[in-house]
């Protein structure tokens, strides 16, 4: 039997919609398909304008209307049943802190004795004498002293030379790559954390939140994560005594059609009741947080963790790391300022959680590291490998995981810190060890990636 076009990758259902009845095209089906394919190629070569000028049908009009975009977005959502289960008191939570702007890892987790770094950073190097010693020759920036105490008790660590597969050195591409959780080539539109939720299966309405006004890319998808800025603001206001009736009317208004908005409304209305219960309880944080937006997010996450609302995944951002100028020294400048905010806020979060810190694991990561060589404005341009910070329960205490080969020229990536450790291996380890995601699950969360744990978690 001769090979048919479909054997060679011309699916029969791939014929152009305008293709006339196949039987008229050729003596047999295989021949007809071949000719149909030729006709299609010819057709596609025609001017698009010409294509549009006649022969319109409703179906063809709709195909060109951009409904596909709605559907692509919609089908993720409508195919997902937003189902809720009961919270469990020992369920673990992962907190993802995104250090937006590209944090310089070599100012945070510093290979103090490295000869190259000294040469390349005459003005902004953190001096070896000021470093808080960790392991493998690394020391911590002195502004992170509050976290060094946690290091000593095995509740804080870091991973060097970490990167996404992205090569663009563009904030947007690198953030997108990290948050979609893929090689840039993956065709996935959902965020990696959304896929983690899908693998976890049903949870409570508050199983995933982001402390922000819109969802971060990592949580976009069909799993109904909630963005909020403080649990106390998650309430329907201005409804007087008509709360129940309003919620019921809204539920009906978003029923009877398939659209992403319908799923979004279901999530919103479902979460209102839980939020009401949490808000009805008196609450004081068990630690004093510094006064900044990042801390307010952390404080709220701590509250949700302690309230046993079933929180599994939480995201919060802290921007301000794009230090092209004025990075500074251990006594002044942007890095000192930002690390002070970061360190004091994270330390307050740890204290606030108390014993719940053991069932919480926080990872702070960034889209890329910065160049090794300082620039003329006393800052650093976009580089490659960076550092992730880990805090909370389940860490391999007192050790620094991951490959680190120093900074000799042949090690570097285009002159900068290499991405020796794939961020997906760290995140994969995090969600498998802390949330119980299976290896099969990981292959869906990070498609086209062969998972190899870094050994950062116990």
């Amino acid at each position: 039997m001769t090979s048919t076009p479909s054997d060679r990758g011309f699916p029969a259902d791939g014929l152009h919609p305008d293709c006339p009845d196949l039987s008229k095209l050729g003596p047999n089906r295989a021949e007809a398909l071949l000719r149909a394919h030729a006709a299609r190629v010819e057709y596609d070569a025609e001017q698009r304008d010409k294509k549009w000028s006649k022969g319109f049908t409703r179906r063809r009009l709709l195909a060109g209307a951009g409904w596909a975009g709605v559907a692509a977005f919609g089908s993720q959502l409508v195919t997902t049943r937003v189902a809720y289960g009961e919270p469990s008191a020992d369920a673990k939570t992962v907190v993802i802190v995104f250090l937006r702007g590209g944090m310089d890892g070599m100012s945070v987790l510093v290979p103090g004795a490295d000869p190259y770094l000294k040469e390349l950073r005459p003005n902004i190097l953190v001096p070896e004498s000021a470093l808080l010693p960790m392991a493998r020759g690394f020391g911590l920036h002195p502004a992170l002293a509050p976290l060094h105490d946690l290091w000593k008790s095995g509740k804080f660590s870091a991973v060097p030379a970490l990167s996404t597969p992205d090569v663009s050195r563009s904030h947007f591409q690198a953030q997108d790559c990290l948050e979609r959780g893929g090689a840039a080539t993956t065709s996935i539109t959902t965020g990696w954390l959304d896929r983690v939720l899908a693998e976890l299966g049903p949870g409570t309405t508050f199983r995933a939140i982001a402390e922000s006004s819109t969802l971060p890319r990592a949580l976009v998808g069909g799993e109904g994560a909630i963005s909020l800025r403080g649990i106390e603001s998650f309430a329907l206001t201005g409804v007087d005594t008509m709360h129940e009736q309003t919620a019921k009317a809204l539920r009906t208004l978003y029923t009877g059609f398939e659209h992403p908005l319908a799923t979004q409304a279901a999530s919103t209305l479902g979460a209102l009741a839980t939020a009401g219960e949490i808000n009805d309880q008196e609450y004081e944080p068990a630690a004093e947080y510094p006064d900044n937006e990042f801390s307010r997010g952390l404080s709220d996450i701590a509250r949700l963790i302690k309230s046993n609302a079933g929180l599994r995944v939480a995201c919060v951002d802290i921007g301000g790391w794009d230090m092209h100028t004025g990075l500074g020294t251990i006594d002044n400048g942007d890095m000192l300022r930002m690390l002070t905010v970061l360190g004091s806020s994270l330390a307050a979060f740890a204290k606030d959680l108390g014993s719940a810190l053991d069932r919480t694991t926080l990872v702070a990561m960034t889209e890329f590291g910065r160049r090794l060589e300082e620039n003329a404005s006393g800052g650093l341009d976009h580089g490659h490998g960076s550092v992730a910070l880990l805090m909370g329960g389940g860490l391999k205490g007192g050790s620094i995981a991951g490959t680190w080969d120093g900074l000799a020229p042949e090690v570097r990536d285009h002159g900068d810190v290499p991405g020796s450790n794939d961020v997906r291996n760290l995140l994969g380890e995090l969600v498998s060890k802390r949330l119980g995601i299976t290896t099969a699950g990981l292959s869906k969360i990070f498609p086209d990636h062969a998972y190899k744990p870094l050994g950062a978690l116990a």
Binding site: A65, G69, V167, L236, A249, Y254, A265, A376, D381
Partner: protein, 633 residues
Amino acid sequence: VYEDHQSLRGHYPDDVDEPSEKPVGRRKLIASLMGGGLGAAALGAAVFMDESVSGQATAGAARELPEGPGEHVPAGPPPSSGAPAKREPAGAPVRPKDAGAFDDRDVSYVRGEGKPAKQPPKLPGGGTSGETESEIRVPAVPDSAEQAVDTADLDGTATSVRSVMGESASLLDWSPVAHLLRRFSFGPTPEMVDEVRRSGMTRWFLRQLTPHRVDDAEADRVWRAYPSADMSIAQIRAAYKAGDQTAMREYSQAVLGRQLWSNRQVFEVVVDLFANHLNMSMPSERSWDSGNSYHNDVIRKHALGTFREMLQDAMRHPAMLRYLSNDLSHKDSVNENLGRELLELHTIGVNGGYTETDVRNSAYILTGRTVDKNGEFYFDPKRHWTGEVKVLDFADANDNAENGLDVGDRYLDYLATHPATATMVARKLAVRFVSDDPAPSLVDRLAKTYLATGTSVVAMLAVLVCSPEFWVAVGTKTRRPLENVTAAVRTLGVKPGGDPAKGVVRIYDTLAKVGHRPLNWQPPNGYPDVAGAWASAGSMLQIWNLHRTLVRGTWPDLVHVAPDKLHGDGVPASADAYIDTLCARLLHQRFTAAHHGALREFLGDHAGSGADALTMAGHLAALVLDSPYFALR
């Protein structure tokens, strides 16, 4: 409590204090990071030199280095550190495209790469007409903006599309006027719907394309409530303390005022699009004196002109130069920020085919474009990097610093008229006005129009509104938070009061809760323009709450229509009639029977009569605004 949310977010531009311009580390280490055949031998062959005289680091033999102002010094430890003055990635140049990057952020929300388009979602109201074939006129690519405008026929196109389509495929009714206004305004008002119905869509739209012919007394009054809105750089520097961002905040509110009440709605919508495409975030510290001028003299000036001129003016405006650090760029220490974003975001796009070497060259070309001590644009030949430059197919000897500005202008013209830029700008328009995932046929037609008409925005708009793709796309877009709020203000008939600034600031501040204050996106890529980027249960709840605040009308210095007067005067005949009237008034259409039933059930004991239902007017009006009909655009 979350007032200062943005301060810790984003921060990609160097939004820092007046920087030290003193170059540090003048003597740079250049390592021959050659790829391919030279390998390790080349890696070892490092010499020290002043970066200002470094040559093109093309892969190949070590270059002969000209004597520069800095003497060559022997290499100390480390022997061959990799910090080339001219950064050439080792090995083959890597383009983001090779790694399979999406064309831009917004694409990544709607389309997996290489995935076939999915079937449209099922929506009610999708009655079918037959599959009989019909003719629809598709605009030819015009030679000029004039030709595009002369041949524009919105009404005719809409009618012929309707004849094929039959009923709408969306939850939203087939109503060309409502569709046109939802897409080309910050929300239809009853007055505007009447006006377009009277004059016809073609006439209305073409008139909107010449905004100076449209009376705008009310919005002008609001604009004048902000004295700084029209101030030049010099005037702001005279009126405010250095670093004071008050004028920028006022400007953003003045812009919100125009979005809410201007009669030149098409202009305002297009301004908003380009303000995001060439984003310069407001407020931001370093451009405190020049941000207002940027938006007036670059964006608003050229929004209905040519993109080429808009780009040229943007790249010599102090606000953009400061926002993306180009004022700091110096031949001895080149800052790549603007050079990169110019390629990635403003023109050819991340998949336009450039390499890291192109980025570096792009930055070289822009050196010298800086800001003088009076805060004005200034080209400083002393800062300009000289030597051969090449970005894609643009090449120039660039051997005389005095001509550096001209080289840049030619480079920008090259980029502005590049086919990849045409597609980028065309897609932005198609995404804003048609669909989150617009048909390639439409993008292609708009891109051709862009190239054929000398980058005319008006020509693209005229072709877009006469394209079948536009008229079929009823209900395919979802209102982003700002658009939802402005549309609510507009349809409720909320007007500026005696002190307009006091009223506008309440709306402006509230928009922070939903993360969508005008001009306020911090990174240079502008607010996302697709629904997927905004989907969030929390945001939806905040918007529902905002609807109630607006319906109640408790904010000062805004003139509200009382909820029980929204339908007009008099007592409705029945509860059902009242619900229909209210929907028609606020949405220009009816609910489905099931959704109508939801409001009737909500009324409960108040459904007995029109008068009784009217006592629940505020609740009902808010629910109509909360509904999916209002959430769609």
